[in-house]
């Protein structure tokens, strides 16, 4: 009786353990089944590198290059803003801030992560977009830059907390060794501590990118959603995620438009998968 119970519990735990893997596989199969149907009608190269996204014209054109570039541009901008800020914030929290301030800052950063993305999007529309419009004399403030700035805020908590963890886990003996040689605190930080924490920093950047690429609601609201090939940050763009969110409601189930949106889902899935894989590699890289 007892043995049967043990057996049952053991299997139950096993099942819970592999459940997430099973879900990922099921989701991927579903995506593939729906998405690959598109390629009965459209050439995959035309899909990936086509310059025109006109899903409801006749005949429809499903070229997602503008969407891929839109996502990349917004992500690039967000990372350029968030990484230096994130490193600086993490260094301050981990190394410089007095103890009482450290706790306040850490909970503040966690709170930033708790703000729903739609609220950030809303704030972006109400404050950031008019500001950009006035500063750069644009016809509309809803641009890639607005998206990048708002997404930088969203990526910051992930980036700061992972970098902070990796700075804290740098052996204290490195810091002491450096200070004892007469290096200043700042020299110690950038010559010893940051290099020693570099794999954590790279992982943080990757996870930040992952967060930004997958983000939907805020970008849908503030990037202007024009599916054209982007040429500058001051131009409206449309991302992969925003396309799915905006068009899923109106695409007829079973139409090639519907399948195209799933194919975009596959592209996103592959991008996030690769980014997470890289982050994992950096995190578990042995320091040689």
């Amino acid at each position: 009786m007892k043995r049967a119970f043990e057996y049952f519990i053991e299997k139950l735990i096993l099942l819970s353990g592999i459940a997430s893997i099973i879900f990922v596989i099921l989701i991927f199969i579903f995506l593939l089944r729906e998405g690959l149907s598109l390629f009965a009608a459209t050439n995959p190269l035309e899909f990936l590198f086509g310059r025109n996204w006109y899903p409801i014209s006749d005949p429809p054109q499903f070229g997602i290059l503008p969407l891929i570039l839109g996502s990349l541009l917004v992500t690039l901008g967000a990372i350029i803003i968030a990484v230096p800020l994130g490193i600086a914030a993490a260094v301050y929290v981990a190394e410089i801030a007095p103890l009482w301030l450290r706790d306040i800052l850490k909970s503040g950063i966690e709170l930033l992560a708790a703000i729903p993305s739609i609220v950030l999007g809303f704030i972006g529309i109400a404050t950031l977009a008019p500001m950009l419009k006035a500063v750069f004399h644009l016809p509309s403030g809803l641009t890639a830059l607005a998206g990048s700035i708002m997404l930088a805020f969203m990526a910051m908590p992930t980036i700061v907390s992972i970098i902070e963890d990796s700075i804290v886990s740098v052996p204290k003996s490195y810091k002491e060794g450096s200070l004892a040689l007469g290096a200043t605190h700042w020299q110690t930080i950038y010559k010893v501590i940051l290099p020693a924490a570099s794999s954590g920093i790279l992982a943080a950047i990757m996870l930040g990118i992952g967060r930004v690429v997958g983000e939907t609601m805020a970008v849908l609201m503030i990037t202007g959603n024009a599916a054209v090939l982007p040429t500058s940050f001051l131009q409206p763009v449309r991302t992969l995620t925003a396309t799915i969110a905006a068009e899923m409601g109106e695409a007829v189930a079973g139409s090639s438009h519907y399948y195209a949106l799933f194919a975009i889902g596959i592209v996103l899935f592959v991008i996030s998968f690769v980014i997470n894989l890289l982050a994992d590699m950096f995190l578990h890289r042995k320091v040689k």
């Binding site: 103890l99 052996p171 003996s173 490195y174 002491e176 060794g177 450096s178 200070l179 004892a180 040689l181 007469g182 290096a183 200043t184 020299q187 010559k191 010893v192 290099p195 020693a196 320091v287 040689k288």
Partner: protein
């Protein structure tokens, strides 16, 4: 009688409410090896860390009294901390080379102090590695990571890294506790050759090491200085019964 390099007077140190060093008085001569012995927690390392102000990193610490090196008060407000730490170098209990190449480890100090000239840096690196007898072993591997070295080599490298900033005083905080007996002996031999140019203080748990390797011995108990004198005299005819108890192994 040589002049005193280090002069400590009426030194008291508190960690919060804990009285870690009590009225310590000691004068240490130039270019000798002084060992600081005593049971765990008696304040040996704390005393060592007073001398290069590494205790500054500890929160809630309070220090009174005077600590002079070459007549300069280490705790006076116009003491230049960077200059002090160049003058008074430290080797730690566990070898702590930076996760950089061997070469970058050795020239870390000169670099942070603004030396940019390649030839000068190379010369310093070679000279420092020679002093710790690592150069011939490692000259073809200077670009390898310092973390690939054996523990003894790492500890030597840490000493070389220190010599590269041309200190006058070297503080060693149980430098051999992570090493095997053979490596320990090698490091002790090294200290004997370094004695010619440097004033050396070594904290150790190992009484044989103190007896073998030092000229003067400083015995501490619960933050107080119990006995200080020539090593030979401290070990053969200690003045204080508590010293005798400790060195004969009755406690500690």
């Amino acid at each position: 009688m040589k002049k005193n390099k280090i002069e400590v007077k009426d030194l008291d140190l508190f960690y919060g409410d804990f009285h870690a060093l009590k009225d310590v008085k000691v004068g240490i001569e130039e270019k000798v090896i002084t060992s600081i012995i005593g049971p765990s927690g008696c304040g040996k390392s704390t005393l060592l860390r007073v001398l290069n102000r590494m205790n500054d990193l500890v929160e809630g610490i309070k220090i009174t009294g005077s600590v002079k090196i070459d007549g300069q008060d280490v705790y006076s407000p116009n003491c230049d901390l960077v200059a002090l730490r160049k003058q008074v170098g430290m080797v730690f209990q566990r070898p702590n080379p930076f996760p950089l190449s061997i070469y970058d480890n050795v020239i870390y100090g000169p670099r942070v102090h603004g030396e940019k000239d390649r030839d000068r840096l190379n010369a310093l690196a070679e000279e420092s590695l020679r002093s710790v007898l690592l150069f011939d072993e490692l000259k073809d591997h200077l670009r390898d990571s310092a973390l690939t070295l054996s523990l003894e080599q790492q500890q030597r490298l840490c000493i070389a890294r220190l010599l590269a900033v041309c200190p006058e005083v070297i503080l060693l905080d149980e430098p051999c506790s992570a090493l095997d007996p053979y490596s320990t002996l090698k490091i002790e031999e090294l200290l004997q050759t370094l004695k010619r140019d440097y004033t050396i203080l070594i904290v150790t748990h190992n009484m044989q090491q103190a007896a073998r390797a030092s000229d003067f011995t400083f015995y501490m108990l619960l933050g107080e200085m119990i006995e200080y004198g020539e090593t030979k005299q401290v070990f053969t005819s200690p003045q204080d019964p508590r010293t005798e108890e400790y060195i004969t192994g009755r406690f500690g």
